[in-house]
């Protein structure tokens, strides 16, 4: 087992989210092409399901290697969605940054470099 440390996705990816009915989608795009294999291996459907436990009732993942991106469908994320939902974020516009809170294990050297670069 190589030496890894947890790192928040905000240091590895950017994202945009939107809605289709009661489903939110989050497109997660690697900040550097080198980070895409890490996202592919570590931002699993299981991990995203666990991250959004209690907020969504099903997660699907799709791969876009050409854009160094993953697309997640978060089903049941919008409390009815559209005009029915009472949520502030009824159209899922900021599920994007909610996913960027997720911590994944990355090589310790990378975690220290990116974490330190971002430190105040």
């Amino acid at each position: 087992m190589s030496d890894t440390e947890p790192l928040q996705l905000r240091y590895l990816a950017h994202a945009r989210s939107g809605d289709k009915g009661d489903t939110a989608n989050v497109g997660l795009i690697a900040l550097e092409p080198d980070y895409y294999p890490i996202l592919l291996a570590e931002v699993t459907t299981e991990r995203v399901t666990e991250h959004f436990r209690g907020m969504v009732n099903g997660v699907e993942r799709f791969e876009l290697p050409n854009l160094h991106a993953l697309n997640f469908l978060l089903h049941g994320a919008l409390d009815g969605g559209g005009t029915v939902s009472l949520k502030t974020d009824a159209q899922g516009k900021v599920y994007s940054t909610a996913l960027l809170r997720l911590e994944i294990p990355v090589p310790a050297t990378l975690a220290r470099r990116l974490g330190a670069a971002a430190a105040p």
Partner: protein, 459 residues
Amino acid sequence: MTEPRVVRVAAGQGFWGDWLEAPFRQVTDGPIDYLMMDYLAEVTMSIMQKQKSRDPRLGYARDFPQVMERILPAIAEKGIRVTSNAGGVNPRGCAEAVLEAARRLGLAGRIRVGLVTGDDILDRLDDLLARGHELRDMDTGRPLTEIRDRILSANAYIGMEAIVRALAEGADVVVTGRVTDTGLTLGPLVHEFGWRADDYDRIAAGTVAGHIIECGAQCSGGNLLRNWRSVRGLENPGFPIVEVAADGAFTVTKHPGTGGVVSVPSVSEQLVYEMGDPRSYITPDGVADFTTIALAQEGRDRVRVSGVRGAPRTGMLKVSIAYFYGYKAVGTLVYAWPDAFEKAREADRILRARLAALGLEFEQILTEYVGANATHGALAGPPNPEAPEIQLRVGVRAREKAPVERFTREIAPLVLTGPPSVTGFAGGRPQVEEIVAYWPALVDRREIEPHVRVEILAA
């Protein structure tokens, strides 16, 4: 050697309510051939239907004739043509308003408006149901008969073909109802290049071009998360333009001197917006495979898009049905430091106890604490006990109006009968809103396409 011919399609509006200066800037700040303006979202048709039921002359995006009045002289002079789905549920009324604007400007005889109708199937629903088209909710599988008596509008999403016909017949401005967002861009390209409907890759490329610009500046620096601080000049955002070649490859750019940025990250964020399965982005015109898209920065504010592959269109069209659902209201109060979150939570407890004691029945009561967890829920972690203020935001929904109406009278009393340090109630009672809900369905395209009509109207 001559430069390969390109057709420039510019985006002027990304939704009904977008920046009103954008269409004017697009036609005056540099060369374009077409201006596309997307006005329709899932819920927009139902809002328009509601307006039309009050006044049969309404039911379209009223911004559009005003925008056109401002840009008609420039587009007439430069030969720019316009495509828009601003017609909503009354495309004829919208087209006539554009013609009136042309007459007022002294452009009578110089502007031809192409009117596309046939997407509206509200009057055909019973016939379709009787002949076995179930129009079940695509997401839940429920049959349409459950909501039949509450339906307000029903429109099929139609593709680019009617726009191509209108352009071929000489329309300067094409006004449609529920034509897809992407069809507004693809139509001009098919008209210009003569792409065949079975030229799947080019149809897909034009669809991707349409998807990239359909949300206006959201692909050119607006709402861009990556390095957001580095995006400059958004006080004058450059709306996007695609420069498309006959082979379907294109460049996304914006006029020189405008703000924002067109970069691989800015285009990537828009590509993944509202995406489902990236291998099959389905429109009435074909199926695009987003995993085949190649992006490259070819210059400042210029992103090259190539390699797009497509597949044949399906036999079905999506239908957007709006129906009356019930009522909702949202009330808010702001609690100040110290203990802002605790005070807000106590106010919520008191409010809920009073609603229960009144015997009011709601389908849902949702409490959010703005400043603590409204956007990210439990992921935001425990509330900060030193937060300078927290907004209590309580929403309720019911099928009947009475409980929602009573809820709106239970917010203000908390100011003098609840926890201290409360403010932010100057806006008065919350409004009761009617909920018009969305019902997505599929229908055989052969039921729709023979009804699509194109007319050319002259000022």
